[in-house]
Point group: C2
Chain length 457, copies 2
């Protein structure tokens, strides 16, 4: 796993120092590209290119793809033109695009200069699609077949042209670039007769996405239909590329992380946690903290408006945190559940009435039970055990009614805001704990003070 | 996507009513198993078996796997033994296990009776592995090759035995069931010569997991190494099954949903949101709400202990929500970020010192900036704009010092508790917003009142 394998790093460092290059090479060639990348990421500026040059060409390119972008940049800047070209030749187009996107302009220029003309064209094409679209994550290296081919011819074609394709397991049957069907290598290999025309075997009810389809939807499609690859077509149904399942998994992981970060009031970052400096973390966290802090002014104003009553009955203050927190927690439960259901495509705008009814019923149940427990808690712990005479049954009643009402309000708001946000084109994940808490805080206090006015004063 | 395609459902319902079975069959055969399952899930008790019986055998089994378990049960109970056997014959073992796990005992008995002896043995074996382990999600249908085979023989072997394998694209080279290497169909097809022994081509540095490896780790391995399938071996290195990438994607999605639910104080559920009744939602939400509500007693006690001071300076009460919320938000940011990094295997116990240092520095920056902004906000809005004479510079100072200190404490606690929880064998996701908020609430009040005592009184 992602362990920092310091023993291995030190061994390789030592082998390099002692110029035991052959042994270092032998060690590297037992390793997986991802693990080699982890080791390379930890090496010093001088050791990195030395070790990298020991790698066999293909393994070098595979490891290169998995490295951190600052390490990639360091290597590219040290590469001769020939070396750069050798690495580029081994890359898949989508990986090349990922690298180009992270590099400064002068490095990008060098990469494009050294890439062969076809790859250069493909990179430029993919770069033009909007970020997070299917077009931006696809690759252009797929196996294309004609429906007139026999099974035997198709297999022969794959054997001849498959080498630099990102996947050969799903092949795309086209007619003047229009995608008319898909066929898997499994179906080809298991066909009873090599002479059957593949036109008879192809799946014509295939699933495809458009270049502008959002990558989150792409990941959902992969998971729903258990695909290994998904064709990307333009508005005329011409195939422009494919997305493979490993990239879909990355998207899925990325989107889940992003949702969690936004839900916690953190601006999402491309960098992983351990690679982010404190300054970067600060920059991604301070905006929400500031917005939410300033929004809490309203809550303060509500309390200030009730100051005279609070000064007479300070006992009411003691219940404020509990009421606010329970409201916030109830709201977060609903909002996070709904946000996730939206992300997985399980809830849509048309489900709003069902969702609200469901949450309302749940909230009534929760509110009722919490109010009862709360009443007992207040009478037993606060009044009897702590012997606080100002905690009267009337106070307990006000607190518990507020509790029940706050839970209902919190859950209804918590489930509605994410759906509304999505409808308005915002990210529903914004409507999670921090945001809901701030709103529910203010509402719970308003309910609390209204109840106090109605019952106690 | 998961749209409720009511038009299609109604069309099929109408075709059934009018006994236009041939047309209904034609419509179904243009559809994908997942989409058919969505439609079947919405049909009535009487229509369901009718429509299901129209499906071609293989498509029927594929759709069956994707249906809701209560619908599957309904169908099985209506099946004749022959029908049940036909569906079972088409299932992969891991899918059969998933179904068996959801069924009541009498249905399970019938399934096991009708399954062929080998499948029955495999189902029973997989059922014995602990929930969420690699063994429980694997399948036993993989292609096994011998290293002495030539490329041509291997391809021939795949063509003969591949039909009921869950994947043929990665083949497993074994010697008396001991896994000695893997080889992809791509490598076989692209081999230069059909007469080469596959022993020369196989990958001997393959990645495998143990039957007891946690499924979350399995998903991480897939995503890290871009695999299509992963062999599962027992303690002696004998291969017992494989896990395919589609199952790994499901695990990934499931684990992310589970983490988000726990982070929001919801006990995870196997059922999707739209399928859960209000009562079920209630049952999954009330425990945490109750625990957290009762824990808030401490916060109340702290306020009660400070009652006399608060009754003299009610202005202090107005800042309590802001201080508590900002503390809670700061803590959640850190805890959620660290929980996610733990889930992705990016942070481990040995990283604790680095994590705490990083969070401490970030917290200092955030605390400083927030305190400054807060001071200005209080002096400008609360004092000047709202003309509240009791908001003095000294009060502002107390609030801002509390703010800075609370943010630091919250972030350090927020990042440490998840790692600690993991070390102690608990789910780190428990240490998210609701839990952290409760702790930080109490701490922020303690800091607030200590500051007040030191500076104001």
């Amino acid at each position: 796993m992602a362990e920092h394998n310091t023993v291995l790093e030190n061994t390789l460092r030592k082998l390099l120092e002692d110029r035991k290059y052959l042994s270092a090479k032998d060690v590297l060639s037992t390793m997986n590209p991802s693990d080699i990348a982890s080791v390379l990421d930890e090496l010093g500026k001088d050791e990195l290119p030395k070790l990298f040059r020991l790698l066999p060409k293909e393994l070098a390119a595979d490891a290169f793809v998995e490295m951190d972008s600052d390490r990639q940049q360091l290597l590219i800047q040290g590469f001769s033109d020939t070396e750069l070209r050798q690495v580029l030749d081994e890359l898949y187009v989508d990986d090349a695009v990922d690298i180009v996107e992270e590099m400064p302009a002068n490095v990008v220029r060098r990469i494009l200069e050294q890439a062969d003309p076809e790859m250069r064209k493909d990179i430029n094409q993919i770069l033009r699609y909007p970020e997070d679209s299917a077009g931006s994550v696809m690759t252009t290296e797929y196996v294309s077949l004609r429906s007139g081919m026999s099974v035997g011819e198709a297999i022969e074609h794959i054997r001849k042209t498959g080498y630099d394709k990102e996947t050969i397991y799903t092949c795309y049957v086209t007619d003047r670039r229009k995608l008319i069907g898909t066929i898997s290598v499994k179906d080809l290999l298991l066909a009873k007769d090599d002479n059957i025309e593949i036109g008879e075997l192809i799946e014509t009810h295939f699933i495809s996405v458009n270049t502008h389809t959002d990558q989150e939807e792409v990941a959902q499609i992969f998971s729903r239909y258990n695909l290994l690859a998904l064709p990307v077509v333009d508005s005329e149904g011409l195939i422009v590329g494919i997305i493979t399942v490993d990239d879909a998994m990355d998207v899925m992981e990325e989107e889940a992380t992003e949702d969690m970060e936004i839900m916690a009031g953190v601006t999402p970052s491309d960098k992983t946690y351990m690679k982010s400096s404190a300054l970067e973390l600060f920059r991604h966290r301070i905006p929400w903290l500031m917005i939410l802090m300033v929004s809490a002014t309203f809550t303060g104003l509500i309390i200030t408006g009730f100051e005279s009553a609070l000064s007479r009955m300070v006992v009411l203050t003691a219940f404020i945190p509990m009421l606010m927190d329970t409201g916030g927690n109830s709201g977060s439960q609903s909002s996070v559940t709904v946000i996730r259901a939206l992300s997985l495509g399980e809830v849509e705008y048309s489900d709003v009435p069902r969702v609200i009814l469901k949450e309302f019923t749940t909230a009534l149940l929760c509110g009722l039970v919490l109010a009862l427990i709360c009443f007992m808690k207040i009478m037993l712990i606060d009044r009897l055990l702590m012997q606080n005479p100002s905690v009267t049954a009337a106070v307990a009643l006000v607190v518990c009614l507020t509790m029940a009402l706050t839970v209902v309000v919190a859950k209804v708001i918590g489930c509605s805001l994410p759906v509304l946000a999505k409808k308005l084109g915002f990210d529903p994940a914004v409507m999670a704990s921090p945001f809901i808490t701030t709103i529910v805080d203010a509402l719970s206090l308003l309910i609390y003070f209204s109840m106090t006015r109605a019952i106690l004063i």
